[in-house]
Amino acid sequence: MCGIFSVIDRNMTRMDGSSIKAALSSMDERGSGEGAGYVAYGIYPDFPDCYALHIFFDNIVDHKSKVDELLSKWGVIIHQEEIPTYEQPSLKRQHIPWRYFFKPYKDLMVGSLTPEEDIIIKTVMDINSGIDGALVFSSGKNMGVFKAAGWPEDVANFYRIEDYRGYIWLAHNRYPTNTPGWWGGAHPFNLLNWSVVHNGEITSYGTNRQYVESNGYKCTMHTDTEVVAYLFDYLGRRHKLTEELIVKALAPPFWDEIDSMPLSKSELNRAIRLIYGPALMNGPFGIVVAQSDGIVGFTDRIKLRPLVVGDDGTKLYISSEEAAIRRVDPNIGEIYMPKAGEPVIGRVVK
């Protein structure tokens, strides 16, 4: 059991984090105080073109110089600072959250159509798998993840989440089951602009991990959810699939349903299952994934985890519980539970 809360303002009007904290904290029973986190998009308007790298350092003395050195090889650090935090009596500080605003030298990555992104992915993977005591947990533009091991309200107060204003928010309250609760294992998980919150477990993790690792990603967070971020990056950014098609690959219809579809539809679904078989995720899950232009929520094919949607036309909410949505918007017009495996998509209006 975990709790998910997410919202997008389609007009890109930014909301501060106070209501997100209230919504997530209302689902404290869904967690165990061992992990909570938030991600917001649009929070760094002063550095819109820089990759905001959020890093947990075990300490500044031993580990930070190696990260500085690596970053300075691949690009230029425009600005860096410790992420402001505020001690909470019931939250034990285990790492020092730091942020870099970083611009990669794109001509260093030859033969790539997306050199900037590829440098960021390489840098993130190199730091996370090669530099002890440093963990990049957020690496997108004009967005950032804030997470720790603690209750939703404590983590929010630790980062003063109400000081950030974003047009997309995802929030997560963790109840760790299969892997330990630690700062890096808290959600959201992020790579580039992709962020993921997840309630459930991915029993096909072994297959999915092999698939993303054979395509250059490295799993370093000791928990299943990170593969979802890499699958979305691989299928979405590199294979340019739409969110609808990515969800079809990750939570596809059953074969007997495909067999009874009209030909054009069944051909598409069959092709996706055959090509992206190793991306299929088994097990119980409710997931919301964000990018800078939208969010998508979906559950596993037999609906083993809850997901509730609220829509007022401008704002789209996706949450584990209806009450959390009504805490933010008591008079929300439309509330419904999407079907299993059916993507719910909210996009910004440009």
Partner: protein
Amino acid sequence: MKLDNKIAIDANDIHYTQLNKLIRKAVAEKATDIVIKNVLGQRFIASGLRAEINIDIYGVPGGDLGMFMNGPICNIYGNCEHAPGNTMDYGKIIVHGSTGDASAHSMRGGEMYVRDRIGYRGGIHMKEYDQKKPTLVVGKSADDFLGEYMAGGLILLLGIGQEAPFYGRGIGSGIHGGRIVIRGEIEDKYLGLGVKRLDMDTSLLNEVQSRIKEYCNYFNLDATKLLDENYTVLGPASSRPFAGKYTWE
């Protein structure tokens, strides 16, 4: 004659533990009616409560409303989250809205009436014993795996104002007791493993008709149209649908 003793509770921003303490205090004070306003996500409301009492709930109660409850009649003016009526023993839950997944989960007695929709796995593992026979009546629609692993009781799905299918896949998967009654004809592809089509017998018909009347009474609907319709009756093909699946015998 029992005198009316109505007690009001404001649930605004209070935790379910506190809310349930207030409910029990009201019961101890011989309340006949409790009205709870501003409910928002509090779990376990009236759980384990033994009392002949009427409880009106305004808002969205959290998961496991009325779990193990024995006696109260709960009227909910709003939607419920997951598993209302979980292992409920006796009493009624009347929902003026919709409910989440696993509604009436393991219910062992009493009645639940949902005006609109229920989520996935409604009535999963409902059971019956001796005089205890739980009933779940749903007005509009139910998602997949309705009556999964059902061991007893009655599920009645009316599909009011809905075009078929107002139900999902795997109806009655693993059913080994009880009856699922759904308005209209159902294609085989929606039926789960271990389900058999049965004929409507007189005693079941009487029961179905009286439940329909009660449902319509709660939600101010005309029962006439619903009483005229054909119903599909589903029950277990055997008492042990998965014998030999996991162990050799």
